[in-house]
Symmetry: C2
Subunit: 189 residues, 2 copies
């Protein structure tokens, strides 16, 4: 059976995770985020900490996989990720944060694919306030995190991350605000 | 005084013009589209037909302007366009369709910048139905129209048309539907 799934892709610090949770509360469906990491660890037999680190950073091991043909830990996690995401979507309607869910579920379920972005100033301010970091992140760090997500997406989907055409709706959380973005997702659900 | 302006950029055949008009009706503000061409003709002293043709197609004369340094008709129209768009925005809150209004009004007014897109199948079907064209447009023709808009935008703004980061909200009218897109614009206004 096809379920109604919302996938939320987001730039680092744009508030996409918070927006996804708020939208899920408004709609009354579960939002999967940290739970995916837990399931990935169980499925791949790696520790949660290793999985978290592996999927958040571009690793040179990825490229080792290309040249040697031997699957890297990241490849193993990707296979697990496809399985876990599909299982969660199969369970029932939900919101899934990140993890290339828009790509993994394409054609399998009735998906609303959302992308959240914001300018560097908004994101730097938000990271300092929400995550209690002492130092304001530099534009360079924000760009590196985005590049890491884009590289991961490209590596496993062969498509461009953050390309307007791949999303049903994209929202600038810095201009529209977190609550309004959640409300738009609810209204489009 | 800063007015609240909605700019609607759109892919050819995506229904952006219809969405802009519907949103303007819902909000209760004017929507400028054909009126801009009329004003451009008045301002530039060209005929409306010439202005329409000139701004809808990429012309080799543009590039003549680059190499000779002599302003082309298109350059004259661009100067008029900046003046006309700014005057319309100054008159009061409104929705402006296309014409690089998002770029021209940046920093001058309180703008909500919207981009409407849809896949080729939806757009081809819509063009046949709405404009009563006998032949279904080919993907090649749709791509050429988009390329023409992108080239115009790049030529006069030095920026990339259809880049997610330049818009506060982008909507896939093929997936969400014309009425829903208008409703989202109203709710974000």
């Amino acid at each position: 059976m096809k379920n109604r799934i919302v996938t939320v892709s987001r730039e680092f610090g744009s508030g996409g995770r918070t927006i996804a949770r708020k939208a899920a509360d408004l709609i009354g469906i579960p939002c999967y985020d940290q739970e995916i990491i837990t399931n990935l660890a169980r499925e791949s037999k790696f520790t949660e900490d290793f999985v978290s680190a592996e999927i958040e950073n571009v690793h040179s091991t990825w490229f080792a996989g290309f040249t040697t043909g031997i699957p890297t830990p990241s490849d193993t996690i990707w296979v697990a990720q496809c399985k876990v995401i599909k299982e969660l979507a199969e369970k029932g309607s939900c919101i899934i944060v990140g993890r290339c869910a828009d790509y993994i579920l394409r054609g399998l379920h009735d998906c609303l694919n959302v992308f959240i972005h914001a300018d560097y100033e908004f994101r730097a301010k938000r990271i300092t306030e929400v995550y209690g970091e002492n130092e304001v992140p530099t534009i360079r760090r924000l760009k590196e995190k985005d590049k890491s997500r884009a590289a991961y997406y490209l590596n496993y989907t062969d498509e461009t991350w953050g390309l307007l055409r791949n999303y049903d709706v994209t929202l600038n959380s810095g201009v529209l605000g977190i609550d309004k973005c959640a409300e738009v997702i609810r209204s489009l659900y």
